[in-house]
């Protein structure tokens, strides 16, 4: 479904600030894989997800989504394949537009936008039903500006938008990090539900080791621009946080360092 072959990315090349963020990443996701991604600060987790999303051009390597090479495409052309939820709840939605307008824009991801009216009444009905499943009361506020919503509501809406049009890959980059624990748990549960219902292929970066173990069918650990550990199936299910930290030291020769990591 997604294949990264020897993907390299250096920020600010040729300057004293040059930073090799990805050092030849190789990764292959099978359809239906739900991969959690962990790693220390600056390990390259966000950079890897952004490379897949086409936020910047990569230096070398190949990115193949559903048998199509995408490494040369601009960001907005990657969108056809990808649903995204960001760490910052502000990033995924347009604050000055209505809830239903945001959904209508997401429903047309990767399609030609025509001069038909931006939202049909059939759609509105569909959105109302979908919003009701969130149990946040948003179905009665469809014409409210998204800027009025709380961070958790916005993340839930962004999740809905990312999956409204079935993506080949769903990318979640610490999408619960800015939320309070209770809301975070709810948004995570919703993510699980949407991924399972739509049988999505997904990558989720998290700084919560426990979440990384409990969710998904596969876990990868990154360090210093490399994937240093890749585990799935039974072996992943039986992981513990302690074992993960030990694994990290063993593979990298360093202490696990992420100032936001939740180790318990």
């Amino acid at each position: 479904m997604l294949e990264l072959i020897n993907v390299c990315k250096t920020f600010n090349p040729g300057t004293i600030n040059a930073k090799k963020a990805l050092k030849g990443i190789n990764l292959r996701l099978n359809p239906g894989d739900f991969v959690t991604v962990i790693g220390g600060n600056g390990a390259g987790k966000s950079t890897m997800l952004n490379a897949v999303a086409g936020v910047f051009p990569i230096d070398s390597g190949e990115i193949i989504i559903d048998a199509e090479h995408v490494e040369h495409l601009p960001e907005h052309k990657h969108a056809k394949f990808i649903g995204r939820v960001f760490q910052d709840p502000m990033t995924g939605t347009a604050a000055t537009m209505e809830i239903q307008e945001n959904l209508a824009i997401a429903a047309r991801r990767g399609e030609r936008r025509t001069f038909k009216w931006g939202i049909s009444s059939k759609e509105k009905k569909h959105y109302r039903e979908l919003l009701a499943t969130l149990e946040l009361g948003l179905e009665d506020r469809m014409t409210a500006k998204v800027g009025l919503l709380s961070g958790g509501q916005r993340q839930a809406l962004t999740l809905l938008m990312a999956t409204l049009k079935q993506p080949k890959i769903l990318l979640l980059d610490e999408h619960t990090a800015a939320l309070d624990p209770k809301t975070a748990a709810k948004v995570l549960e919703l993510s699980d539900k949407l991924i399972a219902e739509n049988n999505l292929t997904a990558m989720m970066v998290t700084h919560n080791m426990k979440d990384a173990i409990e969710h998904g069918n596969r876990l990868i650990m990154m360090n210093n621009g490399n994937i240093i550990y890749d585990v799935s199936g039974e072996e992943k299910k039986n992981l513990t946080v302690e074992a993960l930290i030990a694994k990290f030291s063993e593979s990298s020769g360093q202490e696990f360092a992420n100032d936001r990591a939740l180790l318990t």
Partner: protein, 327 residues
């Protein structure tokens, strides 16, 4: 008494001028409010519209053709700015200034064609010689024509920005990162917005040339400030009326233009030195632009959306920090 008489008789003129500049300000609204770009191209493209219209009329073209050509010329000017900004990566403000400078030369050349000279700083477009749709001599007719223009323009824009395609422009201005994640080419949206905006500004320029009876190389000086003033005044005075309705918002912009020129006439009536007018407009616009910033900075207990969101974020961060401390 005579001064008062003069003042009162100047009011219909102020309304006409206000409507022309209000139409121009709708162009400014598209870039400034919808796309979140401060586009200075307009100082040049309003004159381009006037010059093209006056030149074509002088060369014998019928009025509708001349005005359509003015509209297209403005769109081309917007395309140049869009090209500078998106393809060459030049900041939007600078892109607009560069195009403005290009247009200075181009406008002189366009007007030169009418005079059969290599360039000209102005050309006449008198209602005595041509069949014009607005002019100072027929104030009543002019006002009706301008009203129709404004209504049709607003109706078309209401439709356009409501379509799937038009929504992509609104999204681009609201959140470029989200737009790209949803498959929208923000570069393309910006170019389309700049093209549309400057087309409208040039169309207003062609109306202005007819109204004042000439096209002049200096007629666009400070146009952006008048445009912004109309947008800001409209929002301040009639914003409560328009709420979330896009058509009403555009109507407020036109009304803002009218208010601006009524104030202008009043200032003249009071006897203020008109040389100060540009300065005054600039200061008023500067103050209004500062209001949102000041609100954020000094009114800590406003319940604006940003404040609420900032607070929520801060709370989340504090919680996280606390959690970290506990470990």
């Amino acid at each position: 008494m005579e001064a008062l008489q003069n003042y009162l008789s100047s009011l219909p003129g102020a309304c006409a001028q206000g409507m022309i500049w209000g139409i121009m300000a709708i162009g400014v609204y598209i870039t400034y409010k919808i796309l979140d770009i401060a586009d200075l191209t307009v100082d040049g493209s309003i004159c381009t519209g006037a010059a093209v219209c006056a030149m074509m009329m002088t060369m014998g073209a019928p009025l509708p053709v001349a005005m359509i050509c003015a509209f297209i010329a403005g769109m081309l000017a917007g395309a140049i700015t869009g090209f500078f900004h998106t393809f060459m990566g030049i900041p939007a403000i600078l892109s607009g200034i560069l195009t403005q400078l290009i247009l200075w030369s181009v406008n002189l050349k366009i007007m030169g064609i009418a005079r059969d000279a290599s360039s000209a700083a102005n050309i006449a477009l008198s209602a005595r010689n041509f069949d014009l749709c607005v002019n100072m001599m027929e104030m009543h007719k002019s006002l009706v024509v301008l009203e129709i223009f404004a209504v049709v323009l607003i109706a078309v824009l209401y439709w356009f920005f409501g379509t799937e395609y038009g929504s992509t422009l609104r999204a681009t201005g609201a959140n470029p990162a989200m737009s790209r994640a949803q498959g929208i080419s923000t570069s393309k949206s910006k170019v389309v917005g700049l093209v549309l905006s400057n087309g409208i500004v040039a169309l207003a320029g062609s109306l202005l040339a007819q109204y004042q009876g000439n096209a002049d190389i200096n007629m666009g000086k400070g146009a952006i400030v008048i445009g912004l003033a109309a947008v800001i005044i409209g929002e301040a005075l009639f914003g409560w009326l328009s709420r979330n309705n896009f058509a009403l918002k555009l109507i407020s912009v036109v009304l803002g233009g009218i208010v601006y020129f009524i104030v202008y006439s009043t200032v003249i009536y009071i006897g203020l030195d008109t040389n100060y007018l540009k300065m005054l407009s600039a200061i008023v616009v500067a103050l209004f632009l500062a209001v949102p910033y000041w609100k954020k900075k000094y009114l800590s207990n406003t319940n604006s959306i940003e404040k609420k969101e900032a607070k929520a974020l801060l709370k989340a961060q504090q919680k996280e920090a606390k959690k970290k401390g506990e470990q």
